[in-house]
């Protein structure tokens, strides 16, 4: 159970007592009004998302890939950062659930005139939004939005902090492709690259340690700043566990079950953390040679968009072991599941019981 902030903003707080028992999960409810990060989501709730995603994939396989469950629900997609794939993924997901979708790309709206985030949220709410999917360049922005919004906030990525829907679709993709079944206990998962600036890495830390995976973070030492301290702290947090932080690429890749390469955040890099992209590619780029250190049936992943030739070699991106396109497909299904569960948790007024 997570604690809710008592003032009614619906912001849940860690810790969550999560069990990572493999296999069976008793029917469980989704208990969160918002999805801001995975630090407050229990393992049974994560499994519920996985199962709901299965059902959404079945919907996507239909000739008419649409269900009416969110009919009359206003979903506003508010992206302060340029992103085509995630924004469209959310829009498609919301439309597949028959929601009324408003898509705001902040660069073209009054936000550029200096309208504050709080003002924008209030305006969007007044215009009928029941749920807001928000992406923002500053860590923590979705929490501010949640404090001023009566509906549900779904974090589509904030600064370096969190990208919960990405971590969940990563988990779904791993579970769906892992040889030997979906149980991640003891399976070696490596996140490789610019960890320091990566919200994908941070959210994956919460979900993969909750899943019991043997998680490794690897990259140049300048891009691993602070994570060793977190690894030590997380070992003491109920429902999670330690992870390994290293700049030794060979040790990280050896016998890995999953390798996730992160985009080198060129646009976020400042202060000279790396000599050059060329040097990064030479020392840490995921090439076929390096991939050979992992298990032969290793899964290759990348949250996209890729800098081919930098963090990942083009041959690796199209290798049969790459499940990168699965990630994109699964992204729509996972987001449909999340919109569905969040809408249920927010709960419209019940009509007469069906039967």
């Amino acid at each position: 159970m997570s604690l809710a902030v008592p003032d009614g903003t619906g912001i849940d707080l860690p810790p969550v007592v999560a069990s990572s028992a493999p296999g069976n999960s008793a029917p469980v409810r989704w208990g969160h009004r918002h999805l801001l990060d995975l630090d407050v989501v229990s393992w049974p709730e994560i499994e519920l998302v996985m199962q709901t995603t299965d059902a959404m994939r079945e919907v996507l396989a239909r000739p008419i890939a649409k269900v009416p469950v969110l009919r009359g629900t206003g979903v506003t997609i508010l992206f302060y950062e340029a992103s085509t794939r995630t924004r469209v993924s959310f829009e498609v997901a919301a439309k597949n659930l028959s929601a009324d979708v408003v898509n705001i790309a902040a660069a073209t709206s009054s936000v550029t005139k200096g309208e504050s985030l709080v003002d924008t949220i209030r305006t969007v709410e007044a215009l009928g939004a029941d749920m807001i999917v928000i992406r923002h360049g500053t860590s923590g922005a979705p929490y501010l939005a949640a404090e001023h919004f009566g509906g549900s906030i779904l974090n589509g990525g904030d600064g370096w902090h969190a990208h919960p829907s990405q971590a969940l679709l990563d988990l779904y993709t791993i579970r769906g492709n892992l040889p030997g079944g979906p149980d991640l206990h003891g399976r070696k998962v490596v996140i490789l690259g610019d960890v320091l600036h990566s919200r994908v890495a941070r959210s994956n830390i919460w979900s993969l340690t909750a899943a019991g995976a043997d998680l490794w973070l690897c990259g140049p030492s300048t891009l691993l700043r602070g994570f060793e301290r977190w690894a030590a702290s997380l070992a003491e947090v109920p429902g999670h566990g330690r992870f390994t932080v290293t700049a030794d690429l060979n040790a990280a890749l050896r016998d890995a079950d999953v390798v996730m390469a992160l985009r080198l955040q060129r646009e976020r890099m400042s202060g000279g953390l790396l000599p050059s992209l060329r040097e990064y590619a030479a020392r840490f780029g995921l090439t076929l040679d390096r991939l050979a250190l992992a298990r032969p049936d290793v899964l290759v992943m990348h949250p996209g968009p890729m800098n081919e030739g930098v963090e990942i070699a083009p041959e690796v991106a199209v290798d049969p072991r790459s499940v990168i396109t699965d990630q994109v497909t699964n992204g729509v299904a996972v987001r449909m599941a999340l919109l569905y569960l969040l809408a249920g948790a927010a709960g419209k007024a019940p009509e007469a019981s069906g039967g």
């Binding site: 409810r29 519920l48 019940p350």
Partner: protein, 187 residues
Amino acid sequence: MTGRQIMTADEIRRATIRISHEIVEKQAGTAGLALVGIQRRGVPLARRIAEAIAEHEGVTLPVGALDITFYRDDLSLVAQQPLVKGTDLPFDLNGATVVLVDDVLYTGRTIRAAMDALVDFGRPQAIRLAVLIDRGHRELPIRADHVGKNVPTSREEIVRVHLAETDGEDGVDIERLVGAVAEPVAG
């Protein structure tokens, strides 16, 4: 079963057989028929009806399963019963006469949702409804073509169908709830 039993295993069996005959009779044969069970207990019922028809007509009708979770009109139920059990319709609906099968017919909202779901998969020529129990209190203009047993109930009572495939035994019981209006049983 904790309540008062209103159907025994034998009575269920006989009702199922009668319904299977009625379905064929109404269609004047088996051509074009397909059975679609509504998750959860409508599915084993649909299979039993199909088996009975196969026995007395020698024809195996297609059987599908329909999950109406995403077609309900009440989002607050999502929080309580979010789990989805799956839809599987392994045949072409277009031009078919689909007989929806469910265990209990109550307000009619489940059937409305089921019809919405069905038409997303294709355009049946006709849709009919077979239920084991009709307990009254319709809120929508929906009626069953084939009924196992009509049971007058009050809104404070809950009707539970048990089937061997899902609950380990066959039987139907009815129980009065204290201080609550009967909610639909999960599935």
